[in-house]
C-alpha cells in the first residue's frame, strides 16, 4: 500500500494505517533527528514529537508535497530547534577530502593495478540479489554523519538532492560531495566483503 492510501485511511481514523506509517518512517526520522541533536535519546524525543504533530496536523496536510517530504520536514524543523537549545554546532562540510579509492590500487600513473569486478559477476550477488541489498544495508549503517543521513535520504528514501539539502541545512554542492564519499565508502565495504581486500 502506498503512502497516499495509508494517509487516506489515517484520515478515516484507521489505527493500523498509523502503525504502518510509523513502521515505515520512524527509523528515518531518527536518522534525520540524530544528524542534528546530540544524543539518541534526544533524537527519539524529536521523532516522537514529529508523530504527535502528524496526528494533530494530518487534516491540514494539503498534499502539495509528498507525505514523506512533509513528515521529514516537520522532523528536521523540530530537530533544528532542539539542536539550537542544545547548543550543537553542525559543521557545514566535515567530510575529509581524501581519495575515495585507496591509492595502492593504482600505479604511479593513476591506472588500476587491482581493478574492481562488476557486482553482477560476483557469484553470491548474482545468485541472490537480496544478498547485495543486505550487504549495502549493513555498510550504510557503518557510515558516520553526515554521510549516513545523506545516503539514507538520497539513495534509500529516494529524495532529490534539493530536498536532502533543505532537510539537512546543506548546500546542494555539499550534499553531492558528501553523497559521493558516502556511496564510495558503501561500495568499498561491499566490495571488501566479496574478496576480503578493503579499498
Amino acid at each position: 500500500m502506498d503512502d497516499a492510501e495509508l494517509l487516506e485511511r489515517l484520515l478515516g481514523g484507521d489505527e493500523s494505517a498509523f502503525a504502518e506509517l510509523v513502521r515505515r518512517y520512524h527509523p528515518t526520522l531518527l536518522k534525520v533527528a540524530r544528524y542534528y541533536v546530540t544524543s539518541q535519546a534526544s533524537a527519539e524525543d524529536v521523532a516522537q514529537d514529529t508523530w504527535v504533530a502528524v496526528v494533530r496536523g494530518v487534516e491540514r496536510f494539503e498534499g502539495r508535497s509528498a507525505f514523506k517530504t512533509w513528515l521529514l520536514r516537520i522532523c528536521a524543523n523540530r530537530a533544528r530547534t532542539n539542536a539550537v537549545k542544545e547548543h550543537r554546532i553542525i559543521p557545514a562540510d566535515p567530510t575529509p577530502r581524501e581519495p575515495t579509492v585507496a591509492s595502492q590500487r593504482f600505479d604511479e600513473g593513476g591506472v588500476w593495478t587491482d581493478p574492481p569486478v562488476p557486482f553482477s559477476d560476483v557469484v553470491e550477488f548474482r545468485n541472490d540479489s537480496a544478498a547485495l541489498v543486505a550487504a549495502v544495508r549493513e555498510a550504510i549503517l557503518t557510515l558516520g554523519e553526515p554521510q549516513q543521513a545523506v545516503v539514507t535520504l538520497r539513495d534509500v528514501e529516494g529524495l532529490s538532492t534539493e530536498e536532502v539539502a533543505s532537510l539537512l541545512g546543506l548546500s546542494e554542492g555539499n550534499v553531492r560531495v558528501i553523497l559521493h564519499r558516502g556511496r564510495a565508502r558503501v561500495r568499498a565495504i561491499v566490495e571488501a566483503t566479496t574478496k576480503g581486500t578493503g579499498t
Binding site: 520512524h26 516522537q48 562488476p118 538532492t161 559521493h180 564510495a184
Partner: protein, 86 residues
C-alpha cells in the same frame, strides 16, 4: 584556439562517478569521463558497482522497529483520538 582538456586517468575518473550518475558534471567533465569509460573496462566495472550499490540502496527496507516503540506511538495515537485537545 580552444585548449583540449587533458585525458582522465582512472584515479581521477572514480572521483567523478557519483556526480556523473547524479547528472551534475559539467559538459566538459562528462565528455572526458565518457571518453575514458569507453576505453577502460576497470572503470566501467567501478561504475557498474556504483550503480548496483545505489540500486540496492533503493531496495533497503526500514530498520526493524522494536515492538515497544511501535506500541508506545500507537498508544499516543489512541490517546489523541480519545482526547483530541491534549
Amino acid at each position: 584556439m580552444k585548449l583540449l582538456a587533458p585525458p582522465l586517468v582512472c584515479r581521477e575518473a572514480v572521483e567523478l562517478m557519483s556526480d556523473y550518475l547524479e547528472r551534475s558534471l559539467t559538459r566538459r567533465d562528462r565528455k572526458r569521463l565518457e571518453k575514458h569509460l569507453a576505453n577502460c573496462d576497470a572503470c566501467s566495472a567501478y561504475l557498474e558497482q556504483m550503480r548496483a550499490t545505489i540500486a540496492a540502496s533503493g531496495r533497503v527496507e526500514p530498520d526493524d522497529l522494536d515492538p515497544e516503540t511501535l506500541e508506545g506511538l500507537v498508544d499516543l495515537y489512541r490517546r489523541f483520538k480519545e482526547e483530541p485537545g491534549k
